[in-house]
């Protein structure tokens, strides 16, 4: 067998296919666990989901109808503080994790009552800790915050927060390099074949790599690669547009859905959910205008702020919007992971998911998130 002829340096314990936020977190966790890891990334031509990440470390509203996802998210939040310390040390700068609570602003009574109903429904599914704040309670929480008069209240989850995704990714990369992982960027993967007790991975640049186990974490590239190891993982692009302003003096102490101020002072405004099937990460003026108009209703002073950049990105979305994790039964040792909240889930991806891959068995709590649930699912529910 070819694998017996190879030198040890030719073969990795684990190859992670995809070096974005998801793949980097998994690879980081595997390398920290002592595995010899390679990260194979297509390069910056890839349609990176993380470009659209809003930087929220967020639980509220997630997992409606999928308690396993809600629990997985809560587990990540509980571990994010430790991850933050490790990653900040590795990155050489503060990852900016602040978990002082997160808000969903409600403009007008209709939005507030709809939000109250949703919070109640999720509470009945085990989401505890989210509560509705009226305007007075909101201002008690954020004294002096110049909220617009239409802000009548918000939902508030004290465990939610935000972080700087770029620093998180930098910390993962620094940790991988420190652990001796190979960062093999620059070409798309063309073929995966089982070979002995492992896998052979071929790339468009002619490179060939071998690993005992593989983890497919390729975002929108996942379906094609997963099919090669016998897994059907449907993923479609859902576009999100973003705006950032110039750096501003503190104006919004807590992050909120679609509006947050970073630790560096920029205000980030989101975000669209465009489910049109297009793989083009464009922006449209009409969408940006709608986003900006709502942000100005939340914080009228933003009408005087300058926009520095706007951009579009594509989220990898499964048919039900929840993440998918699996090990192939036809190709044991081949794992797949796909999600659209890789910042929130970074702590469980680097922790229990990586540990499960090292142990050759995914955590039992992920069984409900196996992509077999998509079989026969013709339509998809709206992205969320």
């Amino acid at each position: 067998m070819l694998s017996m002829m190879m030198q040890p340096s030719d073969r990795y314990d684990i190859a992670v296919l995809g070096g974005g936020m998801l793949g980097s977190a998994i690879a980081f966790g595997c390398a920290a666990g002592g595995a010899r890891v390679a990260v194979l990334d297509e390069g910056d031509v890839a349609l990176r989901a993380a470009r659209g990440n809003f930087g929220l470390v967020w639980s509220q509203g997630k997992g409606d109808g999928m308690p396993a996802y809600a629990a997985w998210t809560r587990r990540s939040l509980a571990a994010w503080g430790d991850l933050s310390d490790r990653v900040s040390g590795l990155a050489g700068r503060d990852v900016g994790y602040r978990a002082a609570g997160g808000l969903v602003f409600c403009l007008g009574e209709a939005e507030l009552s709809a939000r109250r109903e949703q919070v109640q429904r999720l509470h009945n599914q085990g989401h505890e800790g989210v509560r509705i704040l009226d305007r007075r309670a909101l201002l008690d929480l954020m004294p002096g915050c110049p909220l617009g008069p239409e802000v009548v209240g918000a939902s508030y989850q004290p465990a939610d927060g935000h972080a700087d995704p770029l620093t998180l990714l930098r910390g993962f990369k620094a940790g991988l390099l420190a652990a001796g992982a190979a960062m093999l960027n620059g070409a798309a993967i063309t073929r995966i074949t089982a070979e002995g007790q492992g896998f052979c991975i071929e790339r468009a640049d002619g490179g060939t790599f071998r690993a005992g186990r593989i983890v497919i974490a390729a975002g929108l590239g996942t379906p094609e690669l997963a099919a090669q190891v016998g897994l059907a993982v449907p993923v479609r692009p859902v576009r999100g547009q973003n705006i950032v302003t110039e750096r501003l003096a503190p104006i919004l102490p807590l992050p909120a859905s679609a509006i947050r101020q970073t630790t560096d002072g920029t205000v980030q405004i989101g975000v669209t959910t465009e489910d049109d099937g297009s793989y083009d990460p464009i922006t449209r003026t009409e969408n940006l205008a709608t986003m900006a108009a709502r942000a100005i209703r939340v914080l009228p002073a933003l009408a005087r702020a300058n926009v520095v950049r706007s951009w579009g990105a594509l989220r990898p979305m499964t048919p039900d919007g929840f993440p998918a994790y699996a090990e192939s039964t036809t190709h044991p040792g081949a794992f797949v992971a796909v999600c659209h909240s890789a910042v929130t889930l970074a702590a469980v991806h680097a922790g229990p998911l990586a540990a499960g891959i090292l142990a050759g068995r995914l955590p039992d709590e992920l069984a409900p998130l196996h992509p077999r649930r998509f079989e026969g699912m013709l339509a998809h529910v709206p992205a969320h």
């Binding site: 501003l248 002072g265 005087r304």
Partner: protein, 97 residues
């Protein structure tokens, strides 16, 4: 660092000090020609910064112009009597004119 190749024809005020300038040139050029490279203190670390790209992309030449904060000096054409000064840290929207 820089030497003018053409005569000046007006005066702008930087932090109150009169500087020679040529109408229509950018404020960034006026300042650089006067030997000024410290345009701003960054919002995050307070580091001194000046122009990098001189074409509107880098946002490192931010200054205050006629009381307006976070203005790109490379995108402002000077006129006689223009008043400008360094940008210290982040802009406060409460200070908007």
């Amino acid at each position: 660092m820089f030497r003018r190749t053409e005569p000046t024809d007006c005066t702008v005020f930087w932090d109150g000090a009169a500087l020679p300038a040529k109408r229509g040139e950018t404020l960034a050029v006026t300042l650089l020609a006067a030997g000024i490279t410290h345009f701003r203190d960054t919002a995050v670390s307070g580091a001194h910064r000046g122009p990098l790209c001189l074409m509107g992309a880098c946002f490192d030449c931010l200054v205050q112009v006629e009381g307006e904060a976070n203005v790109q000096a490379c995108m402002v054409a000077v006129r006689d009597g223009l008043r400008a000064g360094p940008q210290h840290g982040a802009r406060d929207l409460d200070d908007a004119p």
